[in-house]
């Protein structure tokens, strides 16, 4: 985990400083060279690059991620903590809905292989998996905000943007972003569950379970599900990380003031410390999720323990 984070910082740092322009560029009238010089000194940008890198690393190890270059006097960590609740709420609600829906669809499709339910679930999953999320979001807005507004004469429609209350999972503003964000990972989980369940259904121990006259519910729950969900759990870790991090587009479409949006802004404004801080947060989340999955694995799959 540590080497990964180190390389993430290194790569981002190099790319960032290769980018033309700097944090002090302004549209129209430029800052005077003296001011830029002072700013550079204040934020340590006058030092040689390797020294800046070293200082950043040193700070990061002590959980000091520096001040934002574009919001003077604000710590990067403060700013991230401000936008984090929005992103987290959106991601967590999506995740909580995604897991039962994705797994449910997958299991049903597998148990009723080649039935209309299977084809329906699979077709839905294929379409969802190859429709870009901004397209999903835009179509939802057109249908449920614009058209619904017209049809009901302005009495009922889904609001298009913002997230007035962070940490509140029950708000109408969450409906469309959650569907937009969740469509793809749900489809992915459903497909994965289906193929893994199909594989388990063909195993000898499942045949034995049927042969000894076990009730269908018990066969499915105790023998099939327990085994076929192992690869799904592996995928859920990165999925969660994807949800709480990979929402640049959804946050842009629905004007949610989360981390993804602030990241895109900080890239275009060359806010070096914000870029590094956000990247680090993302990479850390992903690494953490993978670690949790690895640990969980030992509990759900005894074979892993035996091997090591």
């Amino acid at each position: 985990m540590i080497p990964v984070l180190f390389f993430v910082i290194l790569v981002t740092f190099i790319l960032m400083h290769m980018a033309p322009g700097g944090p002090w560029d302004r549209e129209g009238r430029q800052l005077s060279p003296a001011v830029i010089n002072n700013l550079n000194i204040k934020y340590g940008l006058d030092k040689p690059l390797w020294q800046q890198f070293w200082l950043y690393l040193w700070g990061a190890v002590h959980f000091d991620f520096g001040d934002s270059l574009q919001s003077p006097g604000q710590h990067v960590s403060t700013l991230l903590l401000e936008s984090w609740p929005y992103t987290l709420t959106l991601g967590a609600v999506t995740f909580v809905l995604l897991v039962p829906i994705g797994i449910g669809l997958g299991v049903i499709a597998a148990l009723r292989q080649n039935s209309w339910a299977d084809y329906g679930a699979l077709g839905l999953a294929t379409v969802a998996a190859s429709t870009p999320n901004f397209v999903v979001g835009i179509i939802l807005i057109i249908v449920f905000s614009l058209e619904l507004n017209k049809i009901t004469g302005g009495n009922f429609y889904l609001p298009t943007g913002g997230l007035p209350q962070p940490y509140n999972p029950f708000q109408i503003q969450l409906i469309m972003p959650v569907i937009t964000l969740g469509a793809l990972p749900t489809a992915y989980i459903a497909r994965l569950t289906r193929s893994s369940t199909l594989e388990t259904l063909r195993q000898d121990f499942v045949r034995t379970a049927w042969a000894k006259g076990l009730r269908p519910r018990l066969v499915v729950i105790r023998h099939v599900l327990k085994n076929s969900l192992i690869p799904v759990v592996t995928a859920l870790g990165p999925t969660f990380a994807f949800l709480v991090t990979g929402s640049f587009i959804v946050e842009t479409v629905f004007a949610i003031p989360g981390i993804g949006r602030s990241f895109v802004t900080s890239i275009s404004s060359r806010d070096y410390t914000m870029i590094l801080g956000t990247t680090l947060l993302y990479a850390g989340m992903i690494a953490l999720m993978n670690l949790i999955v690895d640990v969980l694995y030992v509990f759900i799959d005894p074979r892993v323990r035996l091997n090591s």
């Binding site: 790319l15 980018a19 190859s130 901004f134 397209v135 057109i142 895109v264 990479a283």
Partner: protein, 308 residues
């Protein structure tokens, strides 16, 4: 020996009509109706894309044939026009003909999607092959590097990269290339490792085949199927990345009409005219879906083991 083979050749073996690997695959591919439909859509798109670019005048062949207008010429009195004979898909906020812009955008999306795969093949293929072929320390080093790239959130790296090299076709192209090879590298490595153990490779080594010949004659043909499938699935995700970047405003720059740019333009005017965002959105989704279907078809056709 020579005569024995000669005699054997003269024997009239009673075998069914022989079909080669590719012929066989084509027969299986044709059976998948969705895949054939996807292929048809893609061929039409390729024709459209070439027509939009080939006589290098604005609007290309389609303008000359009076099918579309000019993707760049603005007309401030005819903005947000509804679909008509003159503008089959209407006009956008600057009065530009939408259909010609969609046609032009097809060339950008297809170029990014398809050509990037060559870059992915070169990077991923050589890294995977080197790791699998040499094994040991080389393998270890390359795979750790791959792991780090894997831990890096894709869109994040692409964002930072594009920011660093400025938004242009080629920087998006390279950014997608250097972030998408990980899956392929792992696949090729796995293939090489398993093929290396096969008897016919052992036989080839024993009869003194040079490493180059070994790679070209045995490793490449035998891992070609899954590689082609992986690359095909890479196309829709590259198309998505370009559209997403352009939508976020850090991809292809206006006035160049990439689909992502058009979606961004149309989205900002969604309340004025929802159609102008809907058409490019559908174009992206349809293209991605077609490539996904082709990928599914190819997987079934080329790799019987991977068949569902």
């Amino acid at each position: 020996m020579a005569t024995a083979i000669g005699v054997a050749n003269q024997v009239d073996w009673d075998v069914p009509e022989q079909t080669g690997l590719w012929q066989d695959a084509w027969i299986r591919f044709r059976r998948n109706r969705l895949a054939v439909a996807g292929l048809a859509v893609v061929i039409i798109l390729i024709v459209i894309a070439f027509g939009a670019r080939l006589p290098a005048t604005p609007g290309g062949l389609w303008k000359i044939l009076h099918i579309t207008g000019d993707p760049f010429s603005q007309n401030v009195v005819d903005t947000y026009a509804h679909p008509s004979l003159q503008h089959p898909l209407g006009t956008d906020i600057l009065g530009r003909d939408q259909m010609s812009r969609i046609f032009y955008g097809a060339s950008i999306s297809l170029a990014i999607g398809i050509i990037v795969q060559f870059l992915v093949l070169v990077i991923g293929g050589s890294i995977g092959m080197a790791a699998g072929y040499y094994g040991g320390r080389v393998d270890n080093l390359l795979m750790r590097f791959t792991d780090i790239m894997y831990a890096f959130p894709d869109l994040l790296l692409v964002l930072v990269f594009v920011a660093a090299f400025g938004p242009s076709f080629w920087s998006i192209f390279i950014a997608i290339g250097i972030t998408s090879w990980v899956g392929l590298a792992r696949l090729v490595r796995g293939q090489v490792l398993s093929i290396k153990e096969k008897e016919y490779v052992e036989a080839a080594i024993m009869t003194g085949s040079s490493p180059i010949k070994l790679i070209l004659k045995h490793l490449v043909p035998n891992s070609l199927g899954p590689v082609i499938v992986t690359l095909t699935f890479g196309i829709p995700s590259a198309i998505f990345t370009e559209a997403a970047l352009s939508f976020l405003g850090i991809g292809i720059r206006p006035p160049e009409p990439s689909w992502g740019v058009m979606i961004e333009d149309g989205y900002s005017g969604i309340f004025a005219d929802p159609l102008q965002v809907l058409f490019p959105a559908i174009a992206v989704a349809l293209t991605m879906l077609s490539f996904t279907f082709i990928g599914d078809g190819l997987r079934d056709a080329l790799d019987p083991r991977m068949r569902r």
